[in-house]
């Protein structure tokens, strides 16, 4: 426990460093044995108790607060994934929000995919994605609608080759 002590952040990371840190899967994490598993910091100025963790990465020592806040604000789901990947989810600075952020990420992704308009059908007619699929649809429908369209397009566009 580190109550009553203000731990100075080494420095705030620049946005490109944060991005590099989030992207780096081979980053080395060295947990600070001084703080152990639990760290609480009482900020006398703001009279707030802050949860802290101190981990050293290849870029900078992450001392909580400013750095972590910046990372969270920049991209919270990715920051949570990063913490999960490095096994930091039980650290005091992460444990109270990472699992909620990951759940939120899953919900947002589900919402996006639900909202995406399907373009497989138009006016009740199946629209192919590839030329092979177009020929297969013609075969299934017993006509040559898509084949005609392809032939017409190719007759126009052959000038480009």
């Amino acid at each position: 426990m580190a109550q009553g002590r203000k731990v100075a952040t080494v420095r705030a990371l620049r946005s490109d460093e944060i991005e590099a840190s989030l992207n780096n899967s081979a980053i080395a994490i060295d947990r600070d044995p001084f703080y152990g598993k639990i760290g609480r910091l009482h900020d006398e100025e703001t009279a707030r108790v802050q949860r802290i963790s101190r981990v050293s990465t290849g870029i900078c020592r992450l001392d909580l607060d400013e750095t972590l806040t910046a990372m969270k604000e920049m991209n919270m789901p990715r920051c949570a994934e990063y913490a999960e990947r490095l096994g930091l989810t039980d650290e005091p600075a992460f444990s109270h929000w990472v699992k909620f952020a990951l759940k939120k990420r899953d919900r947002l992704l589900k919402k996006v995919f639900r909202r995406k308009r399907s373009n497989r059908f138009k006016y009740g007619i199946a629209v192919p994605r590839t030329v092979k699929e177009a020929y297969a649809l013609d075969k299934a429908n017993g006509n040559d609608s898509w084949a005609k369209a392809i032939k017409k397009e190719m007759s126009n566009v052959m000038i480009a080759f």
Partner: protein, 157 residues
């Protein structure tokens, strides 16, 4: 190119893709496009401007005030009229019929190429200048040509 022939050295391969759609009258439509999003950005500027709506309205108003006829036209497959500056080739897919599997070199501004619109803009400007049209100083996308009416008065068309 012949089957199995290697493409020119300074050319890069890009994919071709057929886009399908159904029109409102249920006519099937296919459009072959190049995968220009996979290519490097060209060194030259590829921005090409288009005419503003205000300029069109002004031109309509001037035509009406001067009693001029208005003609509307559309250029089909416009981009394919312009030669492309980028050097790309593709491998022909099943849509090419008996040419499938051959290497095809792209020589015209196929839809999807990064410089296609700029190539078409350049080509159209050259063609218009050849028939003595000139861009209006206030808007380079409005073109005019000095002409004489049947009653002898000068005007721009």
């Amino acid at each position: 190119m012949d089957l199995g022939a290697s493409p020119p050295d300074d050319y890069k391969e890009i994919p071709l893709r057929m886009i399908f759609d159904v029109k409102m009258d249920f006519t099937r439509k296919a459009c072959l496009v190049a995968g220009g999003h996979l290519t490097d950005p060209p060194e030259a500027l590829t921005y090409s401007s288009v005419v503003s709506r205000d300029s069109v309205w002004l031109a309509f108003m001037l035509a009406k005030l001067n009693g001029l006829d208005m003609i509307m036209t559309d250029i089909g497959k416009a981009y394919l009229n312009a030669e492309v500056t980028e050097k790309y080739y593709a491998i022909a897919g099943p849509e090419f019929g008996e040419l499938q599997g051959r290497t095809v070199v792209i020589v015209r501004a196929l839809y999807g190429l990064k410089s296609a619109d700029a190539a078409w803009n350049h080509h159209l400007a050259n063609e218009l200048m050849q028939i003595e049209f000139e861009p209006v100083p206030a808007n380079p996308n409005v073109w005019r040509r000095a002409h004489v009416k049947s009653d002898g008065t000068n005007y721009y068309e």
